[in-house]
Subunit: 353 residues, 4 copies
């Protein structure tokens, strides 16, 4: 089988670096082009020394981004750019019949008004929103296979949607009053040289941020509302904690019919198990834990897996669901490659360990 | 003024170590006795090398615990022992007319049945519960001044009660449906040589634990119920994160009368400000932050201060309150010394920076 | 090509865990057997949750070690056992014509008297020492190809021998007066539940240990002496620093003929470059850096690569050489798999990224 | 006794922050002035939230630096400025008869030509070098008492000079061939927002830097040469390791008369013990460890203490000496306050725990 030729635009951040790694090692992909204004002219090995033992990394040179060249050299183009910038590359690449997998927020929202509300500027390419597919394979697999423009979700949304969507679709939890707390590793802030992300400001520091209205809420609530069939608003508090990679998300929700009696508890437990089993029992990258273990980011970092654990609290009648993922893999680049595998017809786990 | 002679029973853990430090440096206290079965015969300087430049640490020798000797050598005795063990020291020391400040859970609950439910054995000294005072000075200052038996609260309870009690007392929030997430540094697990607390198991790891029924819930809900004037149950999820010290607690609660209109929001904001100002405006160890900053454990570690920040979320109508403290100081030993200052008639901040 | 069937004895520590990972993913190996007294009866997925998304990890069950069974089920057996224990497995497995790759120190020393001096007990199988090959492929590749008993070197020796042996063989440095400082991540201490390796004792801690006579000196000096053609003794100080994985080694040595003049410096620089180029220019797992960069463990952790950087100090006339490796991969399990590839006739980089 | 009025110029970095903390708490000092171009107009509590519970921190406002004002408001002025800038403040303040304690490198070197060699520009005030005293109290206590201009040493020099100077003065070690490796916490790099000091670039990273000619070598070798009575050059390799604070230095030196026989070893051991005892037996801030323990930065961080441990290696005949200190306290601000205590006639340990 011929390999697919791929390009990465804006491969200088942490997600871009992981994407380079995955695509260098991908048995069905040929990474022909990487661009970065900052690194143009340097080899991948020089910019990311940890890849320097791969011959391809020593040969591949960062370029200035050039749409015509990319369209000539790649069938699939990954955009690892800030929001607002991705659209200007997506438009001509789509016009040239290329597949675009965008890791920014530009094509994740269906409603350009919501985009404007959360991102503070008008949407740069509203005419493309109709063809964009939200790139969470466990939720939209078939649409991804047929898509030309894939809006790969962010790290918080993935960690929240994977545990919640099945429960909302099955009507097992109330769609209102959901409380979500997430802990994120510092790589989630990107490779920006800002003093708040210095080692001495992060090690031995625990802090919430972005309270109360984080930008990713827009896509989270869009997808939750679709799943619930009604408008959903959640209470979401992200925290910065001193790990390099990983997100742990803890969700509190109310079961739809309460726990009531011991019999009710028994029934509900069974339904949640069945629900997750039906959704994720055959998924290669979602691992629903048994009742003896809880998710731990150290068990998913470096993999494309999202762990999900849950408990019914008989004291309070609440359901507690916890998920863990690698923010740079299942929360970014691994997921994007998973979508590429789908769109290219490769086995979904190819090149993802 | 004469110094008060003090003793520490069981000074080998992290809280005990901090207590030793605080009392060695306390200008009104004379640390006459430290006991530890494990370290008997060794000097404080040998056991805790970081104190070795203090002459007193080189002279003071750990002993086997001996109640008669302690009663002879100290007016105030701190118990830094596991729950279930503290009571056997408290009884004779109280009989000998000594002041006992207990850092374990043994005297924090008013109802021995609740103790048995949460700790799994009958209460070892139920006859003493009536005279025990819950040692959170910001809530029970006058009772602490008159107490002989002070049950100094744990780290999670302090981080949850300080932000919530004023709001419940003032009727500003609904007492039901409160969701609490806490992040704890690893010293909260003590100095136990268990593999789950090894460096390689904790660094780069984020995990919840004790879901859904943590032992400290018993004292937290006891005090919240007192404040609310009705039974309160909270949804509490503790997490272990890779810092040495510090607890960050994030609380979601519903304002009692909702936010309703912009005018309602304005009124509620003012009431919460006034409430916290009235409770904590003059407190030396509680710092209510303005609307530009959020708590960060690195700003309280090493101090006896609890930081509190809050936001009204106009999207959801929820109140989000966040607190930060040093689990070994305001969450343990600093708080115990604060109580000692009260019971001895010293200025409350003496020896606490 | 038929896969080789492999077994791991004692796969419960950090090196064993990495070995399991490498062999589960190895395209030419079939991991048929893993043993562990502690974990017998549990699946690999249960013991190491991070592998649980691999179907083979959910199927493979830890067993009690049984030599006859291993000999029946595997052609190559890895021993990841404490020193002194490995020999009792090696003897019958070799008798059964199996290939044994031992990660302990049992077969690294040629002289059983040196073993006794450094390890404190008589050698358990001195009759096997004659056939053991020191498993550092960059130094003993051809012997490894033909070996039945491979003594895979430890993490410190690898980080010291790779930079020093070429220089000694070429006569470019004086064999005496070499000073070596190494920094090791905490996984080097293994998964022992000892208080000195607790998170709170390691984070924010820097310390030397094992001064002045670390056990690994015996194999280091054996190999350096072979390279130099004379007895070599080095000054070696290992340090424990708060990273999970990685070793950084800094070596100071005197060039054999001094730097003398600027011309001498120029000549010496060229000779060192040529020496390393000749030795490592084609090596897939040794990366000699240019004069603008220095080794950093974060660029090798997760890989089987050893980075080497060097500088001539014109002020002092000394040569400073620095190496970085992942202590669990090039310093343990990756290297063992590299030897397996050689002994099995696979391309040397197979399964090693 | 009247308090001394003190000012800090350039109090925005990590050392400055620690200096603010020490002087706010100092019982004999009245911190009247803090300057920072970046923070002018903001209170100390706003800039450093961890001090916000101190009333003085809420009242004291950062100002633009103004020499006349400082001279009017303070008897002792601390300069926490980059090298090259300190001199322009020192000159007028000395002219105004103030005591200047400079934490930069500007006045540490006696020879302006060495300054120019290592710092790359001509010395900004060579006429002041004659009156500057190198502010290491354990070495130059009497001169510091009488000084008006104190050049407080940096973190690496302190960690190297305290262990080495007594041995060189006593003629116990050879002055040539000394090899020094230091490990530094990231705060040593200051609060610069540079990508190489981001959390994700430092956590799980070990690296050497500044090889082979670190700027601090100039003052280190100046003081070592003075102690030895001859020109001393050392081989010094600094490393960056993921702790916030702390320096660990490992030194290898050759005893002057070798170890020769067991008797020689016995004699040498006694002489080193006596040497350190004579120098440091009464020093409040130097702790020479016994032969069972080795220095650990976690035992000195937060204190003004330098720990020293040593071993004679009977295999190699070398002496290994290890020191640990807090780079921001004994390596910077604590030491500066120690000098202030001397110059003001306060007990030397005042305000230093």
């Amino acid at each position: 089988m011929n390999k697919v030729r791929v390009a990465i635009v804006g491969a200088s951040g942490y997600s871009g670096e992981e994407l380079v790694r995955l695509l260098l090692d991908h048995p069905q992909a040929d990474l022909t082009t990487v661009t970065s204004r900052q690194y143009a002219g340097r080899t991948v090995a020089q910019v990311f020394p940890r890849f320097a033992h791969r011959p391809r990394a020593r040969a591949l040179v960062f370029r200035e981004p050039d749409v015509a060249q990319m369209a000539a050299e790649a069938e699939v183009i990954f955009l690892a750019l800030p929001h607002g910038v991705a659209a200007e590359f997506a438009r001509p690449l789509l016009a040239a019949n290329r597949v675009v997998i965008d890791l920014s927020a530009d094509f994740r929202l269906r409603d350009p008004a919501v985009y404007e509300e959360f991102y503070g500027h008008t949407h740069p390419a509203p005419e493309l929103l109709g063809q964009a597919v939200y790139g969470l394979p466990e939720l939209h697999r078939e649409a991804i296979r047929r898509a030309r423009l894939i809006a790969s979700p962010g790290c918080y949304p993935t960690s929240i949607l994977l545990p919640l969507v099945p429960l909302l679709r099955a009507g097992l939890i109330e769609p209102d009053g959901i409380v979500v707390n997430s802990l994120s590793g510092v790589s989630g802030a990107g490779r920006k040289a800002e003093s708040e992300y210095l080692f001495c400001e992060c090690a031995e520091s625990l802090r919430a941020y972005g309270v109360p209205k984080h930008r990713h809420l827009s896509e989270i609530e869009q997808e939750l509302s679709l799943a619930a069939g009604q408008r959903v608003r959640i209470q979401f508090t992200p925290h910065l904690v001193p790990v390099r990679r990983g997100i742990l998300t803890t969700i509190v929700a109310r079961p739809r019919n309460g726990l009531g009696t011991a019999a009710g508890l028994f029934v509900l437990t069974g339904r949640i198990q069945q629900c997750y089993q039906a959704w994720y029992g055959s998924e290669p990258f979602v691992r629903v834990l048994d009742d003896k273990t809880l998710p731990d980011t150290k068990n998913v970092v470096g993999t494309n897996v999202c762990e999900i654990g849950w408990r019914l609290d008989t004291r309070t009648g609440h359901l507690v669901v916890i998920s863990a993922e690698d923010n740079l893999l299942k929360g970014a680049s691994g997921q994007a490659v998973q979508s590429m595998n789908l769109v290219c017809g490769f086995p979904e786990t190819t090149g993802l360990g």
